[in-house]
């Protein structure tokens, strides 16, 4: 592939003159990042700033009998040594529950543990010093006397009568349970010719953002304001939470987020050590900085997945799927994470399983249990990789059972492209999807028959290659149905403000945030197109609660679809305002004018009438020359939230081509394909790179990444030498194709694309591994990560 290949197809459906919609324009913020001139929170220093390090529990579950801090207080550079009880006087605890997850429960969590540590790595004492090194030195001098308590680590036995209850006041270790019935599952299974039943296991893994979590909190008693520089995906959500738990007003809190070194859902949650940093700044009346080191990250960044899913599919001999059933069990650590809860992923799995298919008979149960491990919560593609791997694993096993090609069984059962609006087995509502178009496209891209022939030929030579597919649906553009209805102050709407500056350039302030995915580029493209200026004359401002419209930030693939639409509408409104000014200057009807290429033109002929710089000059500096009573309004704000559909579901399919070495158990990825449908594609290059990055993150989960705990709740591989992440040498090239089914909920028609890669990759790789191993008589692998050991066990070789 050459760079030139990714450059633009010129125009699109949203065709304004000189439209940037559908063009691969480079992101505006990349030059400074390639020059090392980013402004990450890790880089922030402020006058009088001090650093905090935390003493962390070495035990998975222990009562804190005493904390001796005198030696630490005497250490060089130390400003304060603050145990949990003292910090609890500054900041109130929180409970991670939402009312729409019926029955979900959790216990109060404190910034620093007060009398009990509930996982290995939980902070039990804060040490503040002039440098981070001094804080760490002094932390080693804090003596904590622990009384070790029994640790609940196995989710399978967490609900047994003999298992200790982690939070006795809650009665049991059950966080949340959901049961769901749709259609008639018993009848469906009775009608099946074959019923395939298996158990899937998904290991815990974690985000490993390249920049660890970072925060600088600066409480200024002189103005009674807190300024927080925070590597977060959701500045307004954090503004609310900092204010709430410090018992101050939201307008007293400013959250600023410039560059963030990777998020992926890791940085959209409340972390005790970050809350502690804020509380310490209030206590000490000066800026306090906390940057997690990598070892801390492994035991405190949210972990993800950790599911055991018993699953069943019924199929007729003609390939018709008759019923689905799943029973999901997931262990989430000792607290449901605040404020989004740790019940959402299990809820998603119930919603999404079987999602691409027509069979209406479905039974599901999901149980979420407490355990003494690090907290588990939403991470890129929440629930999707599990639901997709379970669904697609079952479909492939069913196909093998009845002797049908995996493409054929999908053709037979995927929801027809002309059936929309339609519902998935759980009842989730789809506006418009394109499973069959995507399937046929990927079959063509990968030259499926040729690949099958090559596979057969190589098998004769003792080379075992496999092909695996995974169709999927993806939740994007969430409405208030996701969190707002459950009582969380997490906004689903977003706003954009656009302003004509005094030289005729456009400044856009948006509530969505940039985490590297390209939100700033997409906003610039949308605003430039709707308003009518060259993109170089648009500047985007993000990540500042004092200066951007109230918005949700970046999560659940919402920035382009929701933030983008707000920007589109705001820029249209500003265009109308500017044309009103131009009309009054030119004594022309505004509707007879347009803005194209940064110039006000005659709409009919395109001939130039007046430059934007001249409009701005007159409006700002010579308003006295405008007609009496006319007021120029050169700033416009619009907000947007999806209303017609709770979510803009997208769809797609992935395929993996890989080789398994039956002697070593190693899997070599050869090629990977993804066809997805995110509606209107605003920037093809950015969408493709979201897909590729997401695929590789999913491959990590499928083959490498695993937070391995022992029975006592000790993380065994919490460092980057022992926890394997995908590196360049092992990753394949990934071909991406698109089908375009815009949502009618917005003018732009854009849906999200950030999580599709991660949603489908694990299932397709799993199916490909099993396809490769089948002629060797291996037991199907339904466990991730599929390490060489797992492969060799499936082959019966160890």
């Amino acid at each position: 592939m050459k760079i030139v290949d990714d450059l633009p197809p010129a125009l699109s459906a949203l065709d304004r003159p000189n439209s940037y919609i559908g063009r691969s324009v480079p992101r505006p913020n990349l030059e400074r990042l390639t020059q090392g001139r980013g402004q990450y929170v890790s880089d922030v220093t402020l006058p009088r700033m001090v650093h905090v390090a935390f003493v962390r529990s070495p035990h998975a579950h222990a009562r804190i009998r005493s904390i001796a801090i005198e030696a630490a207080k005497q250490a060089p550079g130390v400003i304060a040594v603050v145990p949990g009880a003292e910090l609890a006087k500054v900041m109130t605890p929180w409970v991670g529950v939402l009312t729409h997850l019926k029955g979900i429960k959790s216990a109060p969590q404190y910034p620093v543990a007060v009398d009990r540590a509930c996982w290995q790595g939980e902070a039990v004492c804060a040490v503040v010093a002039k440098t981070r090194a001094q804080a760490e030195d002094a932390a080693e001098l804090v003596e904590v006397e622990y009384e070790e308590l029994p640790a609940v680590t196995d989710a399978e036995t967490a609900l047994d009568a003999g298992t200790p209850v982690i939070h006795p006041e809650l009665g049991d270790n059950l966080t949340f349970e959901r049961k769901h019935e749709a259609g008639d599952a018993d009848k469906g299974f009775a009608e099946a010719d074959e019923v395939v039943e298996t158990t899937f296991v998904f290991g815990r893994h974690t985000g490993v953002t390249n920049e660890p979590r970072a925060i600088v909190a600066d409480w200024n008693p002189g103005e009674q304001r807190l300024t927080v520089y925070h590597g977060t995906q959701a500045p307004h959500m954090m503004q609310n939470l900092f204010a709430k738990h410090l018992d101050i007003a939201e307008h007293q809190v400013r959250v600023m987020t410039k560059d963030v070194g990777g998020s992926f859902g890791i940085k959209v949650h409340t972390y005790a050590d970050e809350m502690a940093t804020v509380a310490l700044s209030k206590l000490l009346k000066r800026p306090v900085k906390f940057v997690a080191d990598r070892l801390e990250s492994f035991v405190t960044d949210i972990h993800a997945r950790d599911h055991r899913v018993k699953a069943k599919i019924g199929v007729k001999r003609d390939g018709t799927i008759t019923a689905w059933e799943i029973d999901d069990l997931t262990g989430i650590g000792p607290y449901s994470v605040y404020p989004r809860t740790s019940g959402i992923e299990a809820n998603q799995i119930v919603n999404l399983t079987g999602g691409p298919y027509t069979s209406p008979n479905y039974r599901a149960r999901a149980r979420v249990v407490f355990q003494n491990k690090n907290v588990m919560c939403q991470y890129r593609a929440v629930g999707h990789p599990i639901a997709t791997a379970v669904t697609e694993g079952l479909v492939d096993l069913a196909a093998v059972r009845i002797g049908m090609d995996p493409v054929e069984i999908r053709r037979k059962n995927l929801i027809p492209d002309d059936a929309y609006p339609a519902s998935g087995p759980s009842g989730i509502k789809f506006e418009l999807l394109s499973h069959h178009a995507a399937l046929e496209k990927i079959v063509g891209m990968m030259e499926y028959p040729t690949l099958r022939a090559e596979q057969a030929r190589l098998r004769q030579q003792g080379i075992y290659r496999g092909i695996g597919f995974a169709s999927f649906v993806e939740v994007t553009n969430p409405s208030a149905a996701f969190y707002g209805v459950g009582g969380a102050r997490i906004t689903s709407q977003d706003g954009a403000t656009v302003r004509l500056d005094a030289q005729g350039a456009v400044i856009c302030h948006t509530g969505v945030t940039e985490q590297g995915q390209g939100a700033e580029a997409v906003m610039a493209q949308v605003v430039a197109t709707a308003f009518g200026v060259p993109i170089e004359r648009v500047r985007i401002v993000t990540g500042d609660t004092d200066n951007t419209p109230y918005g949700g930030g970046t999560w659940a693939s919402r920035a382009a679809g929701i933030g983008g639409e707000a920007g589109w509408q705001a820029a249209k409104a500003l265009r109308a305002n500017v044309l009103a000014v131009a009309g009054s200057i030119l004594q022309a009807k505004p509707e007879a004018l347009d803005i194209r290429g940064g110039v006000v033109v005659d709409a009919a002929t395109g001939s130039e009438r007046i430059g934007l710089d001249e409009v701005a000059r007159i409006a700002y500096f010579r308003p006295d020359t405008l007609p009496p009573g006319f007021q120029a309004e050169l700033m416009a704000t619009r907000h947007y939230v999806p209303r017609a559909w709770a979510f803009a579901f997208t769809n797609g399919i992935q395929a993996s081509w890989l080789e398994v070495d039956p002697d070593s158990g190693f899997v070599t990825l050869l090629r990977h394909w993804c066809v997805e449908d995110c509606g209107t594609v605003i920037n093809p290059q950015l969408v493709d790179e979201q897909i590729r990055g997401g695929v590789v993150q999913g491959i990590g989960a499928a083959l490498f990444e695993h937070c391995r705990y022992d029975a006592r709740g000790q993380l065994l591989n919490g460092n980057m030498a022992d926890y394997l992440v995908p590196m360049a040498a092992e990753m394949p090239d990934i071909e991406v194709g698109h089908v375009v089914s815009p949502t009618a909920d917005s003018e732009l028609g854009a849906k999200g694309a950030g999580e599709a890669g991660t949603a489908g990759a694990p299932g397709s790789v799993m199916n490909a591994v099993n396809d490769a191993l089948r002629p060797l008589g291996a037991r199907p692998i339904t466990e991730m990560p599929m390490t060489p050991e797992v492969v060799l066990r499936a082959l019966g070789r160890i």
Partner: protein, 160 residues
Amino acid sequence: MSERLVDIAVTVNGELVRESVEARKTLVDFLRDDLGLTGSHVGCEHGVCGACTVRLDGVVVRGCLTLAAQCDGARVDTIEGVSDSGEIADLQDAFRRRNALQCGYCTPGMLLTAQELLKESAKPTREKIREHLSGNYCRCTGYQSIVDAVEAVARARGQA
């Protein structure tokens, strides 16, 4: 816990710097905290992720596995230096055009490592590029765009 100070004289991006540093201070902490050169990043502090990659006497090293005290008399080049000199302007432009970075945190290290490869090898294969970059962790891109960008620059330099 008083730390022994070591006097060092280091040429950083062409400027002679004289400082007293704690014996235990890593090169990347020295660059970031003492000199304000925050383009070199701290990712893992145990030599795996490559975010702290800098050049020491012309050779790519891990800034987190090198002590500042070791650098007395040495020449250190960081992303700020090679940016200002224009040495890697073509690589930077290719990364930008190919969107070979998302969050940008790995990018300074990735660029310095890629530049090392392109100095060693005029026409690296994609496999060779992947292998050479395999000590630099990127969570965002999936690597393909980075490989594309490096390959394109190798080809362009070969034709120059």
